[in-house]
Amino acid sequence: MTRSKTERYLFIAGVVVALFFGPMAVSNAMHIMEGYLPLGYCVLWGAVCVPFFIAGLFSIKRTVTQHRKTLILLVMMGAYVFVLSALKIPSVTGSSSHPTGTGLGAVLFGPASMCVIGVIVLLFQALLLAHGGLTTLGANTFSMAIAGPFLAYGVFLVCKKLHAPKSLGIFLAACLGDLFTYCITAVQLAMAHPSPVGGFTASLAEFMGIFAVTQIPLAVIEGLVAVVVMKALESY
């Protein structure tokens, strides 16, 4: 490992860091549990993810044939994202939250290839930590590995365009990516389990209301951690 290589990675990492925590949602509670969605919805969300997944596979294959080493970098990124998700992040209440950070490296490798990594990480979360599940893999992939990262990336770019301070951009990207992931999760749950009284909208409002209590403070803390990591990486 030569030094200048490290420096190059670190430089890229500084840029990427926004995405780091972009979709980084989130606690255990953010993963939809095994068995929680009816089979029809499992298939639906799975199907929605398939094009992203296939595009990602092709994109990885393309880069890997040119630079074999990219595969190993993707691997480290995947392992890193998993480790993030397995760690407890410090929080006020003492309850734990698990940043998932599946969007990590979306800039480096393209959002599509990060979708592939995201699926693998979510699968490992289901199989090794029992977070999420096999039948709900599609729904979780969509909210955490597709929707969240894309939004975080968007927010980061917008902030950059507006010449907002970098740390604000990162904070917002991380925080909003987190919140967006949970909104999508709430939509997924409300669609599957509409209220008998008010239907989908009533149910959505309820799911959002309940998650808001637990997720907003966590989203803020995770945003802060993202800023600290970025600052630390920049000074490396």
Partner: protein, 285 residues
């Protein structure tokens, strides 16, 4: 004329990890203030688990630990107290260093003690000076060589001015030059009156340095005493897979052959043995 104070007293420690590994099985150990203790034993014999008990990172499932003659108080405040007194330098600096800059790294612990920025800065500068870190103090930590990282990781702890310093295999993986440099730093620590507890696989080094050698096996202390005595006990050496240091082996042979006198104090260094031989040579003349 005051009686030596006990800094660590561990009584009947038991610890089993979540996965069922029994790491400590009734460990007793006492360390006096100012002592130089070498802890030896195979990997997996419980050394690292024991160290993590001494500053309350792990809590024994049975037994208790007294630091400075008071049992560890596992409340948040009590733990801060203990960690201020007991510092651990980990074996692999990669597991310890996390800051981008050397100064930032060294200041982490001292600032957490609640010391003012100004005071912290002074102490950090002093430690950087003392451990010879100045030439690379401005470099980012991840560009440092192994030996340099090791020195920074010692500075990390030393700056907090602990009363007891624990070093987990400080010289492993270093080349001879850096290993000797670290040995020098360790000697410096004891010179300052800091109690040093050090784990090592290097019997030759333990023989030279330690006041006392403690042998760990299977989560217990199976023997302790002066290094010369420990390393001449065939029984203990076999049990812990240690090799008798060359100096002692040769000394014992020379005694058996009648070239040296049995009653001589067993030598700790090659120089001592050579001194005996030279003396003998002069007598022969």
């Amino acid at each position: 004329m005051e009686r030596k104070r006990t800094i660590v007293r561990a009584e009947d420690l038991h610890y089993t990890y979540e996965d069922g590994t029994q790491a400590l099985k009734g460990l007793d150990l006492t360390v006096q203030k100012g002592e130089k203790v070498a802890v030896m034993g195979a990997n997996g014999s419980g050394k690292s688990t024991f160290f993590l008990h001494l500053n309350g990172i792990l809590k024994p499932q049975k037994g208790r630990i007294l630091i400075d003659e008071t049992p560890i108080d596992y409340s948040r405040k009590g733990l801060l107290q203990v960690r201020k007194k007991v510092g651990i330098v980990f074996q692999n600096p990669e597991d310890q260093l996390f800051s981008a800059s050397v100064r930032q790294e060294i200041s982490f612990g001292i600032l957490n003690l609640g010391v003012s920025e100004k005071e912290a800065e002074e102490k950090v500068d002093r430690v950087i000076e003392e451990l010879g870190i100045t030439p690379f103090a401005h470099k980012p930590t991840h560009f440092l060589s192994g030996g340099e990282k090791k020195r920074v990781s010692i500075a990390d702890i030393l700056v907090m001015e602990p009363e007891l310093m624990i070093l987990d295999e400080p010289a492993a993986t270093l080349d001879p030059k850096h290993a000797r440099m670290i040995d020098g730093i360790v000697d410096q620590l004891s010179g300052k009156g800091i109690t040093v507890l050090l784990s090592t696989h290097d019997a030759e080094r333990a023989l030279i340095w330690a006041d006392r050698v403690v042998l760990f096996d299977d989560g217990k202390v199976i023997g302790q005493g002066h290094p010369e005595d420990i390393f001449r006990s065939e029984e203990l050496l076999r049990q812990t897979n240690l090799e008798k240091p060359a100096v002692l082996r040769i000394f014992d042979t020379l005694c058996e052959e009648g070239i040296l006198d049995h009653k001589l104090r067993p030598p700790r260094r090659v120089e001592e043995l050579m001194g005996y031989i030279r003396e003998k040579g002069i007598k022969q003349l």
